[in-house]
Symmetry: C2
Subunit: 151 residues, 2 copies
Amino acid sequence: MPHEIERKFLLKTVPADLANYPHYHIEQGYLMATPDGQQVRLRRTDSGCTLTFKTEEGAVREEREIEITADQFGALWPATTGKRLTKTRHKVPFGNLTIEVDIYEGTHCGLTVAEVEFPDRGACRNFQPPDWFGEEVTNNPRYSNVVLARE
Amino acid sequence: MPHEIERKFLLKTVPADLANYPHYHIEQGYLMATPDGQQVRLRRTDSGCTLTFKTEEGAVREEREIEITADQFGALWPATTGKRLTKTRHKVPFGNLTIEVDIYEGTHCGLTVAEVEFPDRGACRNFQPPDWFGEEVTNNPRYSNVVLARE
């Protein structure tokens, strides 16, 4: 199965030129999500819709994602009521990595979170956060999207 | 949300002419399933593939289903390993109802189960099972497909 290795941080500030980086609006909701980190997620952005199955243990995830049509999305989306969130994602280059800066909206307006995905465990371990990063929350369920979506 | 009202029975015998009724082969597996009856199910039959979200409390279910392509199915199916079952479903007319007779294969070879779906709660309550029906297992988790699929 495909793996994701990533770390997540709260942000003290965001780059002043954040809006100049590629960014897009994300609506996502969960058909199902369990406390052990399994989830089936629906997501809609400007570029299309996806359905994603994830299992998760700490920084290592397994993930399977398919593109779905707007009709398929529309038929399933009502089942995510009460388990949704919206945010704008910015892609900020950082050396050979990409920092994803998520600006949350709605209930979580004001929350800003960065996720960094790594090619391997070594790069994950050795990552030096820039000074605009705050507390690391990789293993803090308080900031999991599933928990945020239920609030 | 669409509702299903149905009852489930073990069978003492099956009609001698069962193979003459419309029937088709079903492979199904679960991306996720929780003990409280929520599930995301993948199913493949001769006529195509589906992805279904269900919540369930006793005889009353809520259900949302989409058709998916063979490629979409193929991308998600590996995540159902260890949570699959196969059976042949026969559609047997019974008055204004249809009895679905499922003949299980593989691990559950020999198990035969009938499901009857009703247009309303009154029809559900008043249903008189034919004499080839055995024990009712509508609320018996032992015979839920999710439980069978994990064995």
